[in-house]
C-alpha cells in the first residue's frame, strides 16, 4: 500500500525557533535549521498533527487530504 505523504508548511516569518515542534514530533520529522524549523524527514511523518497543535506561533500547517 502506497503511503500518502502530507505537505508540511512552515511559515518562516511566524516561526520563532522555540524547538517545540521538533522535540514533540514522535518520529523526528522536523529539525531546526538556524533559527527556524524545517522538514528533515517527511517520509517518517505519521500525520499525528502534534507539531501543528503545539506550535505557539501559528507557524506550522500539516496539510493532509
Amino acid at each position: 500500500m502506497e503511503k500518502k505523504l502530507p505537505k508540511i508548511e512552515i511559515i518562516e516569518k511566524y516561526c520563532k525557533g522555540c524547538h517545540i515542534c521538533v522535540e514533540f514530533c514522535p518520529t523526528k520529522v522536523l529539525e531546526m535549521q538556524g533559527f527556524v524549523a524545517a522538514v528533515k524527514n517527511l517520509e517518517a511523518c505519521i500525520k499525528c498533527m502534534q507539531c501543528e497543535l503545539r506550535c505557539p506561533d501559528f507557524a506550522i500547517k500539516v496539510i493532509t487530504e
Partner: protein, 273 residues
C-alpha cells in the same frame, strides 16, 4: 486537514508579540478551536482582558475586543454582559492580572454567576513586567523580587473560583494542548460563570530563574504533575503529593445565572409600575 486558525485572527496581526516558546500562543489556539467547534458568531462575541502578556490575546482575535486596565477585565466584561446578555463574553488574562490586582473582581464575578467564561493563563509569574512573583508562584521559587526564594504561599485558582461561587471550573495545561479547546468549549456552553485555568509557561522570565533549561523541560514538567480528575480518584494522598488535577473539576447547573436573575428584576419592576 490543517486547521485554519487565521480565519479567526485579524489580518496582518501575526506574528504575535509573545516570546519564543511562550505558552500563551498554545492557549490562544485552543480558544480558537473551541470557538470554531461552537460556531460562535464573531460579531456577537466579546473578548475582554486586563493588562499583561496574556491580556494581549484579544487584540489578535477578529471579534469585539476590549483590552482594559490591569486587573479590571471581569468588571468591564460584567458591564458588557449585563448590557447585552445575548452576546458571548469571554475573558482572558494572566495569573497576576486575574488573582492579584483583579482578585476582587474575579471572586465577585464568580459569586454573581454571570454567564461568561474566564480563561486564566497561569504561568505562575508576572511575565510582562519581567518576572516578579505572582499569587500563583510556588513557595520557594525564584522570581525577580524573590531572589532568596518566594516566602508567599500560593492560590489554587480552581479552589478559589469554586469557593467564590463559579459554577464551572476546569484546569488544563499547555502540554495537553488537545484538551484545551474541549475544556474551553464546555465552559462557554455552560450557563453561568465558568473558569478555565490553563497552566502554561513563561520561559523568558520564570524558566531560566528556576533551572528549567528550556521550554521543553517546562512543558514536560506540566505533563509530569498533571493528573486527570478521574485518575486521581484511584490515587492515594501520597501519590497526589505535588500533582495538580486537570479536567472539569466542578460543575453546578442548579444555581441561577445573573443576567437571567436580572431579567426577573425587570419583570418585577415593570409589574410594580
Amino acid at each position: 486537514m490543517a486547521f485554519d486558525y487565521e480565519k479567526y485572527i485579524r489580518p496582518g496581526k501575526l506574528p504575535h508579540i509573545w516570546c519564543p516558546g511562550c505558552g500563551h500562543g498554545i492557549v490562544m489556539k485552543g480558544l480558537i478551536r473551541a470557538m470554531d467547534s461552537l460556531k460562535l458568531d464573531m460579531a456577537q462575541t466579546a473578548i475582554v482582558s486586563g493588562i499583561g502578556c496574556a491580556s494581549r490575546l484579544p487584540g489578535y482575535m477578529d471579534c469585539c475586543t476590549l483590552h482594559t486596565a490591569h486587573g479590571r477585565a471581569a468588571a468591564f466584561a460584567t458591564g458588557v454582559k449585563l448590557a447585552k446578555p445575548e452576546m458571548n463574553v469571554i475573558l482572558v488574562g494572566g495569573d497576576g492580572d486575574g488573582t492579584a490586582i483583579g482578585g476582587n473582581h474575579f471572586i465577585h464575578a464568580c459569586r454573581r454567576n454571570i454567564d461568561m467564561t474566564y480563561i486564566i493563563l497561569n504561568n505562575k509569574i508576572y511575565g510582562m513586567t519581567g518576572g516578579q512573583f505572582s499569587p500563583t508562584t510556588p513557595t520557594g521559587a525564584k522570581a525577580s523580587t524573590t531572589p532568596y526564594g518566594n516566602p508567599d504561599p500560593c492560590f489554587d485558582i480552581a479552589k478559589l473560583a469554586i469557593g467564590a461561587g463559579a459554577t464551572f471550573v476546569a484546569r488544563g495545561t499547555s502540554f495537553h494542548a488537545n484538551q484545551i479547546d474541549k475544556l474551553i468549549a464546555e465552559a462557554i456552553q455552560h450557563k453561568g460563570f465558568s473558569v478555565v485555568e490553563i497552566m502554561d509557561d513563561c520561559p523568558t522570565t520564570y524558566g531560566r530563574r528556576n533551572k528549567f533549561k528550556s521550554v521543553i523541560e517546562m512543558m514536560n514538567h506540566l505533563k509530569e504533575i498533571a493528573v486527570p480528575v478521574k485518575a486521581a480518584e484511584k490515587m492515594t494522598a501520597e501519590q497526589l503529593q505535588g500533582k495538580v488535577l486537570t479536567g472539569v473539576l466542578y460543575k453546578d447547573e442548579t444555581k441561577t445565572e445573573y443576567t437571567a436573575e436580572y431579567a426577573k428584576v425587570i419583570e418585577r419592576a415593570k409589574a410594580a409600575k
